[in-house]
């Protein structure tokens, strides 16, 4: 059901939801550390807060049975967009000329100006259900493994019957060359091009240009001169970046040693021909262990090789890490028309490809969340072993909006990226080495002169 932003008015046809029940698909590569498993927190003493009673054998059997034969629609079924490819018409007048309008924050028909939105993805996909109830791994229809030979789709135009070929690597919409109607790819083709959800832009191109100008303007002094000469902030591009988003129900365990100071004292010790005061500590050494459950909500991971921080050395992809987070809870069910006027990067990494990276994120989260429990150890804690087991996870593919300015310096593509929702900006500006080295040498010289001058003066004092 589309959401009318004009007040009462006609509603368009929207996806029907449930299909035939069946076992939910497991994430690719789930045989690794992401393997699902029912579990209860194992305890070995120490204070425990809110611990659930151990599940009985009947409960576990019931969970396994539920995972194998779920009673409701699976996540794949809830996320499957069931519209036909082709004409995606305005619910009011039937025009196929629809585009996302940033000021109105809605899809707007170019003919009748009717404004509407797709439903909130979290609600439509059932993501409002508690994460602690997750068991096993389920994935959205747009997160399925990529099939390489699905790059070209031939659509039959419902307006005139002509065959129109769409190369999905380049576009998800095309005009019929006979009747000029806009044809859309409306359901998830297993090639990574069509996600489950999209988070539309809130920041306009003009606002993004200003952000880029401001960012570069504050870094002009030591910027490469050629970069500044060629700097054209109006070339900023609106790009929808593919991310895989996961909710996860995790059990984490950490083990190590910690030290607590019980006494501090100083002693005079002889070093060579002089005496020094040294501080010593008497410490208690503890074996430290933490076991706890984590419910992770909307953890997003880049799923495009081209923009992945570790998979493309020819661009400064790391800047994309610094413009997060996105308000993914406001993502909408996918509709091609949100992408009109922007480019969208195709997802080319499967869940199996980023599985280990996500597990490492879970481990980092576990370490960060355990830190407040370590206040007793004033000398620190050395974690020596760590692990997580994923009881349940649900994945969806989502497109997130980024305004991207790119400039190539002959070796590296330098990006200035602007979060298309919050305006958070980060970038990489090539440095003018003569200027940076010159400034460093100048400071070094001044400090040396001051230090030597101070030393000479102190000798006569």
């Amino acid at each position: 059901m589309s959401h009318d932003v004009n007040g009462p008015g006609p509603q368009g046809e929207r996806p029907a939801t449930p299909g035939a029940p069946g076992a939910g698909p497991m994430g690719a590569g789930s045989g690794g550390p992401m393997g699902p498993g029912p579990g209860e927190p194992a305890g070995d003493g120490g204070p425990a807060a809110g611990q659930e009673p151990a599940a009985s054998a009947e409960d576990l059997l019931a969970q396994v049975e539920e995972a194998a034969h779920p009673s409701g629609p699976t996540l794949e079924e809830r996320t499957r967009i069931r519209k036909e490819h082709g004409l995606d018409k305005c619910p009011r007048c039937g025009s196929s000329d629809i585009a996302y309008d940033i000021p109105q924050r809605a899809l707007v028909c170019s003919y009748c100006r009717y404004a509407f939105n797709e439903p909130n993805a979290h609600e439509a996909f059932g993501f409002t259900s508690p994460i602690q109830d997750l068991r096993g791994v389920t994935i959205g229809a747009g997160s399925e493994d990529i099939v390489e030979d699905q790059d070209v789709v031939t659509l039959k135009c419902q307006g005139c019957g002509a065959d129109v070929v769409i190369k999905l690597e380049e576009q998800l919409q095309s005009r019929c060359h006979w009747c000029r109607q806009t044809l859309s790819i409306n359901t998830q083709v297993p090639n990574g091009a069509v996600p489950d959800a999209v988070l539309p832009f809130l920041l306009s191109r003009e606002q993004a240009v200003e952000k880029v100008k401001e960012f570069v303007g504050a870094r002009r002094t030591f910027a490469d001169r050629r970069f500044l000469r060629d700097f054209t902030p109006e070339n900023v591009l609106g790009v929808y970046m593919p991310y895989l988003m996961v909710d996860a129900n995790i059990h984490a365990e950490l083990a190590g040693t910690g030290e607590d100071t019980v006494r501090t004292y100083t002693e005079r010790v002889k070093v060579g021909d002089r005496e020094e005061t040294r501080t010593y500590y008497d410490v208690d050494v503890y074996q430290v262990a933490r076991k706890f459950d984590l419910l992770v909500d909307d953890l997003a991971t880049q799923s495009s090789t081209r923009y992945h921080r570790d998979r493309n050395e020819s661009a400064t992809n790391y800047v994309l890490r610094a413009i997060q987070p996105f308000d993914v809870e406001d993502a909408l069910v996918y509709n091609s028309n949100y992408l009109t006027g922007h480019t969208s990067e195709r997802r080319d990494l499967d869940i199996g490809d980023i599985d280990e990276e996500v597990v490492e994120k879970f481990l980092a989260i576990a370490r960060a969340r355990a830190q407040p429990t370590l206040g007793k150890y004033d000398r620190g804690v050395k974690w020596e072993a760590e692990g997580v087991s994923v009881r349940g996870a649900r994945w969806v593919a989502v497109l997130l909006p980024v305004w991207l300015y790119s400039q190539y310096d002959g070796r590296l593509s330098h990006y200035v990226a602007v979060n298309g929702r919050t305006g958070q900006t980060m970038g990489s500006i090539p440095i003018s080495q003569p200027r940076a080295i010159g400034a460093s040498c100048l400071v070094a010289t001044i400090v040396t002169v001051l230090a030597v001058g101070g030393g000479i003066l102190s000798m006569f004092a």
Binding site: G46, A48, G50, E253, G258, K291, F292, D298, A322
Partner: protein
């Protein structure tokens, strides 16, 4: 790292040793200050160290926390205010992975 270098660059610390160390401290202060300036420019322009701190800022609920703190030994006359290898705040550094269930 920059903080460590700043400590090294402090002329008082460099000059604070014995009389024999004094000329080295004075002469090293300038080059260290120069290196610090270059690193500062590099950090501000290239921003390689900037990132979203997902580990502490993601929406996460923690439950069923179980703690175990067992004293295993007492050590006397330890120098240094931090234990060697302490990594409780270096969340992105991975340590030995243990297989767990549940």
């Amino acid at each position: 790292m920059i903080t460590d270098l700043m400590i090294l660059a402090d002329p008082m610390l460099l000059a604070g040793g014995s009389d024999g160390d004094y000329p080295f401290g004075v002469l090293a202060a300038g080059p260290i200050a120069g290196i610090l300036v270059y690193l500062g420019i590099y950090s501000r322009y290239r921003n390689k160290d900037k990132r979203y701190r997902f580990e502490s800022e993601s929406k996460v609920e923690v439950g069923n926390m179980m703690t175990r703190d067992a004293k295993i030994k007492h050590r006397r006359r330890v120098s240094g205010s931090r234990m060697g290898g302490a990594n409780e705040s270096r969340h992105l550094e991975r340590v030995r992975r243990m297989q767990i269930s549940g």
